[in-house]
Symmetry: C2
Subunit: 455 residues, 2 copies
């Protein structure tokens, strides 16, 4: 094989044994919780058609989407002058596939395809990687895992309440300190929008508003003015930067200010209903904070919007979600509504790592190593190894005859608890000398006794 | 959201609940076996630099590799005339990343990067998808999972024997009928090559030879002649098409014909040694068949080569592997040797599906559904649901108040074994009416009794 220049693609990582094990530990907790709430697994391919992905994630999404070059002579049939028209025009002609950008759009594609066979409400969970050509930074990678759970096909706000309860349980179970679930509603954002001049785009407004949590009032106000907001419009919405602390008081204040917006009032009613459902469920005091500035990057939300954050680490959100509608495949077909939660496995891992909350040990290690002193002990070791493995004992033999000290050092580094030394004496006696590495204690066993001890 | 045109990328698939569950069933068996043999998990990113991938998989690999378009203005800095020079020249300039093509090259990249920190022999397993723009057909997809286990850093043939024993155990444990492990050695192929005119390329020779198993002697001979082989050269190697049945007899026949090739004889010796190790391990009669025509598509093998097939389904190999060397990152650094096994999860799944060997049921289903008859029963149901889930019971509530018959039909289709019906009577009595769906039997429980029964 040729000489390798061993570099990782920017923003991607390898996961060693301990990391795989710790990531699996978190993913298992999430998965078990999702199953307990009635979600079933789905997996979709990494590759999706650009026709499926494009137009779903806003302008940023179009830029950050990884596109896959068509196979074979991708220039066949392309206008030779296309290059001079710029890369965007060429892209559409030479790359008709892309990498999965989130798990929601593939879910929608799946539901749209199978809608006549699926049982609704369709509750699926999905734990798979997604890819975004984002600028890498702490907790943000170009290849990262999302853990999604969605309820598709019912408008009831019971689904919202269940998903928020599940979200709470997850973070409480993991023991993440000081976490809060910020909650908003697209109709509240639209109600606020109705206060401002219509020459300003809603998406611009929401995107700037969304920065309040991170950058503060002064920054957001300055940006709004720069974006073309009038000082009068700003005065109308300024109250959201200084809301009272409790959800009840926030709802009351918003109610006063959104009197003129039917849509805004509907949003408030729906959030009240979600909180009521949580009370009915016996969960009246979850760490939920009404946050009318919350918009999230994705443009497809139509109802509730929520995000999970912790003050314990300086990092973006650990997850979030909301309600969306999507339109069936046929013109005029009824839209299907869904509400979902997406947990960022890598963010959660980074947060738990920072907080020293990950399990210290990796996966179940080897139980036994057989030493290999010479061809005769190797032969006996190989025979014993077959029996140990057949009995389910995780075991291996040192691969080549070597000095005992070197083999002991290898076993120590791999934290193998028991080492079997097969010298001439042991061969003669049909006994195995078993050394417990932690104590240094050595004892004779028959093979049967050893298997009984280890299984 | 925009209207979706719901199509999958050619050669890719969605996996529904049952499929995810069955695939996990197979992957778990493989993983547990790998762990028992002392392999530890590693995961690498889907994206690799083209500089890592290119030149590793031969000409076919270069064609079938998925390349990812550079982000942003990928044409910046590209010679505007590059398009006229054809797509290959442009590819190199606009796509510097690709999708993982196998799991061996990423392993080598990982070892090359971490060689000074790793404990050798380094034994890793890896279960992840790979991508190839191959022509889709039965059991062959463009996105598929490989389950690899490799021993890196030791030349001992004990590793070969262990991997063959593990391969045998896997297929025996899964219950695949009539499987055989075909075994060859690169040095034997080279020895055969020494019989033929040197104007013919070795890779051409090996590629044609490899088709014997599938296409037969006449086809291979015709292709060899077409490729420029002389009839005399053909006569020299014709004996391999009519070898005796046992491995011992095959070895003897090959020994006679390869007397003049030092390399060929070394290959035979090594295979004999591997078989001897298996005898020592107490596994003298594994279904291993010496197959001197076996070459496999990948060009990087330097020692043993093997492949697993079953006559029970008409499908390509279910897995394979072999020994390879690779050269360190620095000029003149010693090469590192490895030997590995790669199981094709999708092939194995397809074979087991064809043979009706997959578990019938999906993952652990819901245990309980609560009916939702009116707002009052919904409220009580939600409260009970919180208790059930807190106790670990997999449960859900029908999401909206509806007719009982509709809810029962939903529970039936989801195979939920118990349904709790909360009507006025039950609310008054603080009792739960629990219907066992299989028998239709209905009984009163307190919440505590129900949880005790289900957990």
């Amino acid at each position: 094989m040729k000489t390798l220049k061993p570099t990782l693609v920017k923003g991607t990582r390898d996961f060693n044994t301990l990391q795989v094990s710790n990531r699996q530990y978190i993913a298992d907790i999430i998965q078990n919780l999702y199953v307990r709430y009635g979600f079933s697994p789905l997996e979709t391919p990494a590759l999706e058609n650009i026709s499926t992905l494009s137009g779903q994630y806003g302008q940023e999404g179009e830029q950050l989407m990884f596109r896959v070059l068509n196979s074979g002579d991708f220039l066949a049939g392309v206008d030779p002058d296309a290059m001079h028209k710029g890369y965007k025009s060429l892209t559409a002609q030479i790359a008709d596939k892309g990498l999965r950008y989130d798990l929601t759009v593939p879910l929608m594609r799946y539901v749209a395809t199978h809608r006549h066979k699926l049982l609704f409400p369709f509750k699926r969970y999905q734990i798979q990687p997604v890819w975004r050509a984002d600028r890498p930074q702490k907790g943000r990678y170009r290849e990262f895992y999302q853990c999604d759970a969605d309820v598709v096909g019912t408008p009831t706000l019971v689904s919202e309440a269940e998903i928020l309860a599940m979200t709470y349980q997850l973070f409480a179970h993991l023991g993440i300190p000081d976490f809060v679930i910020q909650l908003n509603h697209r109709a509240i954002l639209n109600g606020l929008m109705s206060h401002v001049a219509d020459k300003v785009q809603a998406t611009t407004f929401f995107t700037i508003l969304d920065k309040f949590d991170k950058s503060g009032q002064a920054h957001v106000e300055a940006e709004l003015l720069r974006a073309g907001f009038s000082a009068e419009a700003l005065a109308q919405i300024q109250f959201i930067f200084n809301l009272p602390p409790t959800n009840a008081a926030k709802l009351a204040t918003l109610q006063q200010h959104l009197q003129a917006s039917e849509e805004g009032l509907r949003g408030l009613q729906e959030l009240q209903k979600v909180l009521d459902y949580l009370s009915v469920m016996g969960l009246p005091s979850l760490p939920i904070s009404l946050t009318p500035t919350l918009a999230r990057g994705l443009s497809y939300y139509t109802g509730t919007i929520f995000e999970i954050k912790t003050a314990a680490v300086s990092m973006g959100s650990l997850g979030g979600g909301g309600r969306y509608n999507y339109i069936g495949i046929k013109e005029g077909a009824p839209s299907i509504t869904g509400v979902g939660l997406s947990i960022g496995l890598d963010r959660l891992y980074a947060a738990m790592d920072t907080l020293d909350m990950l399990p210290e040990r990796g996966p179940a290690p080897l139980q036994v190593m057989l030493t290999n002193l010479d061809p005769a002990s190797e032969a006996r070791g190989l025979r014993i190894l077959t029996s140990l493995r057949a009995a389910g004992v995780r075991s291996e033999i040192y691969p080549v005859p070597s000095k005992l000290r070197q083999q002991m050092s290898y076993a120590n580094k791999k934290r193998i608890p028991f080492v079997i030394i097969i010298g001439d004496t042991e061969r003669a006696a049909h006994q195995l000398s078993v050394k417990e590495m932690r104590t240094g204690f050595q004892k004779q066993y028959t093979l049967r006794e050893l298997i009984d001890m280890l299984t």
